[in-house]
């Protein structure tokens, strides 16, 4: 098939989850389909400043067309309109304006879709919240597949999304919880959809050397948080809960690996490593007692899947339906709603060694069943065939 993949940023050096998902699928499917990625020249998801050259390139065998962003994100206007639409029942046109200000504003990409969208068998759009999806998808709705990467944050409640979520001919979801969330927001029952997630390569469990983290004096028992250390990721609550717990146990450390976007308290049992190399990252994952995921909003936690890939159990924020759902389906860890549950669950994972190992192993078995690339790609292919057949019938 001839496919277009539309995404806000693209490239091997782009760290975002939805962008990574798009690139992984594009590279893996490009052996079977003619794929063109339609994206922007932006690399920074905050400013959307043009950074990559506009025009065509071939990246890892995938054709990429980049379009310039008409203007960087207007921070003041965006902050004001976000306050307005998330606080109250803002009128429809103001909500639509929010998507315009959210950017990345790429009218040339929309023009390209208008002129050439019909030349593709299917057009896949990543992430509902950005300009290129919100305004681009309706232009090719009959052949569009949406990969919403929706979370239970404020944006999902915008009334303007009801109509938008009705438009695609198909959907690829990360989790069943995400599918349910989008189904509730759409005005009508969804058309064809599949829960696909992302694929992981098998890793040799037990073989990952500990030396990279020994050099950093990481103790043998530690909870690991991996990612941006940010209030929006629930890290403030995690740090408070952990300090309460640490007051009762001196033999556990919380290791934070990722750039800090908030103040991290000075504490003998908290180690903030900042950015870490891939080698350190993998060693941290492989040798952790448990991975902690405190985020209240997720459409899919890839780091959670990575931990299970190493047979490491997880402790997640139970208020996030996606995380709690993943842990329950995998039988791969515990979840907490309150600080007292966090302490009890942490204690369990640190002291019940056989159960801890069993939870980790069950997580790895879940990855084997659900998240190997062959399984994921087969689900994507099935859904694309189904939507394509339905498009053909309609035409």
């Amino acid at each position: 098939m001839k496919l277009a993949f539309v995404v806000q940023r693209y490239g091997a050096d782009i760290a975002g989850g939805s962008e990574g998902h798009c690139r992984e699928l594009a590279e893996r499917l490009s052996t079977r389909h003619a794929i063109t990625v339609l994206t922007t020249c932006a690399t920074d998801y905050v400013t959307w400043e043009n950074a990559s050259p506009a025009g065509q390139s071939i990246e890892n065998g995938v054709k990429v067309l980049r379009f310039p962003v008409a203007h960087p994100r207007r921070m003041q206007i965006f902050a004001d309109i976000s306050d307005e639409v998330f606080d109250s029942q803002a009128p429809h046109e103001r909500q639509v304006e929010w998507f315009r200000e959210n950017g990345p504003a790429t009218p040339e990409l929309l023009e390209h879709l208008k002129a050439h969208g019909h030349e593709f068998d299917l057009v896949l759009f990543w992430t509902f919240r950005y300009y290129q999806s919100y305004f681009g998808l309706p232009l090719v709705a009959k052949r569009a597949i949406l990969v919403p990467t929706a979370e239970e944050d404020s944006a999902i409640d915008l009334d303007a999304l009801g109509e938008f979520f009705d438009k695609p001919a198909g959907y690829l979801f990360m989790t069943p919880e995400e599918r349910d969330l989008v189904s509730r927001r759409a005005l009508h029952p969804l058309r064809a959809s599949a829960v696909v997630g992302i694929g992981l390569e098998p890793v040799p469990v037990g073989d990952t050397p500990r030396a990279p983290i020994d050099r950093l004096n990481i103790p043998s028992r530690y909870l690991l948080y991996l990612g941006r250390v940010d209030r929006n990721k629930g890290c403030d609550v995690l740090l408070d809960s952990f300090q309460d717990y640490a007051a009762t146990r001196a033999d556990v450390t919380l290791v934070l690996a990722g750039p800090a976007k908030m103040q991290i308290p000075e504490h003998p049992q908290i180690r903030a490593l900042g950015y870490v190399s891939d080698e350190v990252r993998l060693a941290l994952l492989a040798h952790a007692t448990a991975l902690v995921v405190p985020s209240p909003y997720e459409s899919l936690s890839i780091v959670l899947l990575e931990a299970w890939n190493y047979g490491v159990p997880a402790l997640v924020n139970g208020r996030c339906k996606v995380l709690a759902g993943q842990v329950q389906r995998a039988n791969g860890g515990l979840y907490y709603m309150f600080p007292s549950e966090f302490s009890e669950a942490t204690d369990y994972l640190l002291t019940q060694h056989v159960e801890r190992d069993a939870l980790g192993r069950q997580g790895r078995e879940y990855i084997e069943r659900e998240y190997r690339w062959a399984t994921v790609l087969a689900r994507v292919e099935d859904l694309m065939q189904q939507v394509h057949a339905s498009c053909e019938r309609t035409n």
Partner: protein, 175 residues
């Protein structure tokens, strides 16, 4: 032998829902003991009473949206009671000066005081969440009360009189 695991050769299966139920039981019991011993709340000396109260409040605290709540509907238009956390750039002045004042507010005052605005907004957001939880608590209690009234009516002998609100009349007092 693992008490909680289902033994299957060398690989015991640990069901998360079972472990979570036990973990929550332990947390609940610790909380009950703390409240009973530290705060002298005698009603919670009965674990069953505590469990019922905790379950009711837990359900209310887990409410994430007001879609299933009656109180927001009864309170009338949200503009009159809902916490407003966005800044409205308005002025009572005539058109020209109003635009100037709005410009100054938006482009000079707001950037300078945005940190203060965001601090207040975060607190209002917390208050909004508390209101939602309290609405849900009130509704849970109202539902329980309505169900109990219905059960009491059903169990009462036909002669038993009730007032219009459904509550049983007090028995006559001894002279």
């Amino acid at each position: 032998m693992l008490a909680s695991a289902i033994a299957l050769g060398d690989n015991p299966i640990v069901p998360v829902h079972v472990e979570m139920a036990k973990l929550r039981d332990r947390v609940r019991e610790q909380l009950r003991e703390r409240i009973v011993s530290g705060c002298d709340v005698h009603a919670f000396e009965d674990p069953e009473i505590f469990d019922e109260v905790e379950a009711l409040l837990h359900a209310a605290a887990s409410t994430s949206d007001d879609g299933g709540l009656i109180l927001p509907e009864l309170l009338g238009t949200p503009d009159e009671w809902r916490l407003t956390t966005s800044m409205r750039y308005q002025s009572h002045r005539t058109r020209g000066p109003a635009a100037l004042f709005a410009f100054v507010k938006r482009n000079i005052l707001m950037p300078a005081f945005r940190w203060l605005f965001e601090y207040s907004r975060d607190n209002f957001e917390r208050q909004r969440r508390m209101n939602l939880v309290l609405f849900a608590c009130v509704q849970e209690l109202a539902v329980e009360t309505a169900q109990l009234r219905r059960d009491v009516r059903r169990l009462s002998p036909p002669a038993a009189d009730t007032d219009r609100s459904g509550s049983l009349q007090r028995p006559p007092t001894e002279p």
